[in-house]
Symmetry: C2
Subunit: 406 residues, 2 copies
C-alpha cells in the first residue's frame, strides 16, 4: 500500500493569490463605475524582451533547425559560454569561476531543491516576511513541525524584519544551520548593508552554518556602497551559496533562466558542496534550452547591458516615485531604492487585508497584503514598481489627492 | 553545524559514460589508422528540429519581443493550448483530460521528483536493466540501503528482464508500493505487451501499489496491438502515472519539454495525488518557456505530425536494419521494433565491457555496455538507431563482413 509523504499535509493552503483575485473580482462585480484598476500588485514583468536578447534568441532557435548547428542534450550545469559571461560580468571582482556557476530554469526551483543536499535535522532560519518558497520546500521535506496558531511553522527560526532593525535582522545568539536570506528582500524592498552581511558571514563561520542567498533582485541594487553580491564580503565564499535569475533583470519570467553559485571553497563534513550539487543536477535536471542560454548570454553584450540597464533604471524610477508619493501623503513607506518594491505600513489600526480592501475600494489600486509573506508582514502592503509610469501616476494621484492617512 | 544528507554518499560514482569516453580516447590515441568511428552508442538526436516546429518556435519568440504579445510567468502546469492538444491527440481514446496533464522540462526531472510525494518507507521496484535516474533519486531520498557487492542497492526490488520472460517481467508475489516501469524499456528496446501491462494494473489494484510509467519512447511503439499508453489498459487511470517527453519524438533534447499525466482517479489515503503533484509543482517549478510550449504544440498540426512521423519511421527503419544485420551475423539481438534500441547479447563468455572493447577495437563501433543500466544488463550491449543510414550501414558491414559470432 503506497504511503504518502505526510509532511505535505502540514502545508497551508495555497490560497493567498487566489484570495486577492477573488476580492478583485468581487469588487469589479459590485462596482457601478467599473473603472479600470491600477495594478501595483504585480511581481511579473510587462515590458517585452530587449531587442538584442530577442535577436540572440531567434538566431539560436534557427541554429536548431539546421543539421550542422543543431544541439541536443546540453551540459546539466549549463553551457560554458554563458557561465563564462556571468563570471566575468557579474563576479568580476569576486573571483567566482565558471565552474562554480550552475545554470538552471529558475531561482525558485534551485532554492526549493537545494535543501535536498542536507540532513533532516538541520535548523532552518528565514527572514520574516520573505518569499515563501524556501519555507514550503522545507516543510515538504519534513524539516519543520506543524503550522501553529501564531501563524508560523514550528521548528523554523523567523528573523523579524522590522522598522527598528531597518528590515535587516542581525544574527541571533542561538545556533542555526541553514539560513535563507532574500537580499534584496521580497517583499520589503530592502537590501542588506555591508556591515549586516559581514555579521552574517562571521556568524556562519562561527557556527558552521550555511547562508543561502536569494539574489533574485540583485540587479536592482544600485545604492552607494551597497553589496550587489554576498561574495563582496570577505570569507563569504566559504559559507554562502547565491541564487540569481534573469527573470527580473532581463524580462525572462516567461523564458526561465537562472543560476546558482556554489563556491569550491565550501566543504562540509570534508566533502565539496559543489560536487554534491553537481551530482544532484546531473541526476534530476537536463539543462536549460540552448536558445534561452544564448538569449541570456546576450544580456552581457554592450547592447544587452545598455537595454537591460535602462529597463532596470526605469523600474527603479517608478518605484521611487511610488515611495515619495506615499511618504508625502503621510504614509510610512520603506524600501524601493535597491529593489523594485515599496513596503508600505497600513494606517494605525488597519491590518494588511483591511488596507488592501481600502485601497481597492476607495482608489481602485491593487496591492499585495504583506501578511502573505509571513506573520511579520502583517500591517503592511507591498507595492510593485514593475509597471508603467501611467499606472503609477494614476494610482498615486488617487492617494495623494484624496486623503491624508496620518 | 550543517549536516549533509548522508544518503548521497550511497550513490555510486557517475563514471559510466566517462569510462566509455576514456576507452574511446585511449583507442583513438593508440590506433594507427585513426579511422572514423561508427557511433551507435548515442541516445541523443542528430536531426534538426522539424520545419513546422521551428516556425512555431521562432514565431513565439518574436511574440516575446512585442509588448502586446509578451508573456511573463506562465502556469506552473503549462499552457492550456498545449495540454488540450496532448489530450486530444495522444489520449484520444483514453479520456485523459487537459487538467490531468502537467507540462515540464523533462521526463527525467519529473520521474526524479515524483518520489517526493511519498513516504520514505515505500517499497520500490525497478526493471533490471533500466534507465538509472529513478533509482538514484530514491537513493538520495533515503528509500534504499547501501550499494551491495552483488551490484544492487539494498531495499530495492529488481525485476529481471531476461530472454526467458521476453524482457517483460511479470508481477512478483511479494507486495510492492512504487513500481517504475520504463515502457518501452531503455536499454532493452522492448515494450510491454497488453497482457503484461494488464497483469501489472491488476497487481497494483490488488496491492494498493502505484505504477510509474516512463513512456519516454512511447512514440516509437508501432507494433500491431501494442499499447502506446498505459491508459489503454482498463482501470489504469486508478493506479498509474505516465511520464512522457518530446525529446525523442520531436527532437527536443536541447529544448526541454515533457509532460506527466496524473489522473484524477488516483486517491491515496483519501487524497488526490493530482492535487499533491500540483502543489509540488507550484512550489518548486515555474513552468516551461512559452516559445518551447508553442513549438511542442506545433507537433500536433498536420505538418508537424507528418514531419515527426517520418522522422520516427526513419529511426525505426535504421534500428530494424541493425537488428537484422546482427541476427544474420549470428548474434542474438532483441528489441528494436517498438523502440529505437537494439539489445545485443555478447558472444559466449564475454561480458558487456569485453564486447564493447571488441567492437571498438575490431570494428571501430561505439556501443553502450548493458551493465551500465543495472546488473541485469551484464552480458549485453545497447545499439542505438538515432543515427543516419550511412553510420548504420558502415557499422553493420563491418560486423557482417568479418565474423560469425556463433
Amino acid at each position: 500500500m503506497v504511503k504518502l509523504n505526510s509532511h505535505f499535509f502540514k502545508l497551508r493552503g495555497g490560497y493567498f493569490f487566489a484570495e486577492i483575485e477573488r476580492r478583485i473580482a468581487l469588487f469589479q462585480g459590485q462596482s457601478s463605475s467599473r473603472g479600470s484598476l491600477f495594478n501595483l500588485g504585480i511581481g511579473d514583468l510587462v515590458e517585452p524582451l530587449p531587442p538584442s536578447l530577442l535577436t540572440a534568441l531567434v538566431g539560436a532557435c534557427e541554429e536548431m533547425g539546421r543539421r550542422e548547428s543543431f544541439r541536443g542534450y546540453g551540459p546539466a550545469e549549463g553551457y560554458l559560454f554563458l557561465r563564462e559571461k556571468i563570471a566575468a560580468h557579474e563576479y568580476a571582482n569576486c573571483s567566482v569561476s565558471p565552474d562554480e556557476i550552475f545554470i538552471s530554469d529558475g531561482a525558485q526551483s534551485d532554492m526549493a531543491h537545494f535543501q535536498e543536499l542536507f540532513d533532516g535535522t538541520n535548523r532552518i532560519a528565514v527572514l520574516d516576511p520573505t518569499y515563501p518558497a524556501y519555507v514550503d520546500a522545507n516543510v515538504m521535506a519534513g524539516r519543520t513541525g506543524n503550522w501553529g496558531k501564531e501563524g508560523k511553522y514550528e521548528g523554523i527560526t523567523y528573523l523579524a524584519c522590522t522598522e527598528e532593525n531597518q528590515f535587516q535582522p542581525t544574527p541571533p545568539s542561538c545556533p542555526l544551520d541553514l539560513i535563507y536570506l532574500c537580499c534584496p528582500n521580497n517583499p520589503t524592498g530592502v537590501s542588506f548593508e555591508r556591515a549586516k552581511l559581514e555579521a552574517w558571514v562571521e556568524y556562519a563561520k562561527r557556527h558552521g552554518a550555511l547562508l543561502l542567498i536569494d539574489g533574485a533582485y540583485s540587479s536592482f541594487v544600485t545604492g552607494d556602497g551597497m553589496p550587489r553580491t554576498i561574495y563582496e564580503i570577505p570569507g563569504a565564499k566559504e559559507v554562502a551559496v547565491e541564487f540569481r535569475t534573469f527573470s527580473k533583470s532581463a524580462g525572462f519570467t516567461g523564458l526561465r533562466c537562472s543560476y546558482t553559485v556554489v563556491p569550491k571553497e565550501i566543504f562540509l563534513e570534508g566533502r565539496s558542496l559543489r560536487e554534491l550539487w553537481k551530482r544532484r543536477q546531473e541526476t534530476k535536471f537536463n539543462g536549460v534550452a540552448y536558445p534561452i542560454q544564448r538569449a541570456a548570454e546576450a544580456l552581457f553584450s554592450p547592447a544587452g547591458k545598455q537595454e537591460t540597464g535602462a529597463r532596470i533604471a526605469s523600474y527603479l524610477q517608478g518605484t521611487r516615485c511610488i515611495r515619495e508619493r506615499l511618504l508625502s501623503s503621510g504614509l510610512s513607506a520603506f524600501g524601493g531604492f535597491d529593489a523594485p518594491y515599496v513596503w508600505c505600513k497600513a494606517p494605525e489600526g488597519m491590518g494588511s487585508w483591511d488596507f488592501f480592501d481600502f485601497l481597492l475600494q476607495k482608489h481602485q489600486i491593487i496591492s499585495v497584503p504583506g501578511s502573505g509573506f509571513g506573520k511579520g508582514g502583517e500591517g503592511f502592503i507591498r507595492f510593485s514598481g514593475f509597471v508603467g509610469p501611467a499606472t503609477i501616476e494614476g494610482a498615486m494621484s488617487k492617494i495623494n489627492a484624496t486623503a491624508c492617512y496620518r
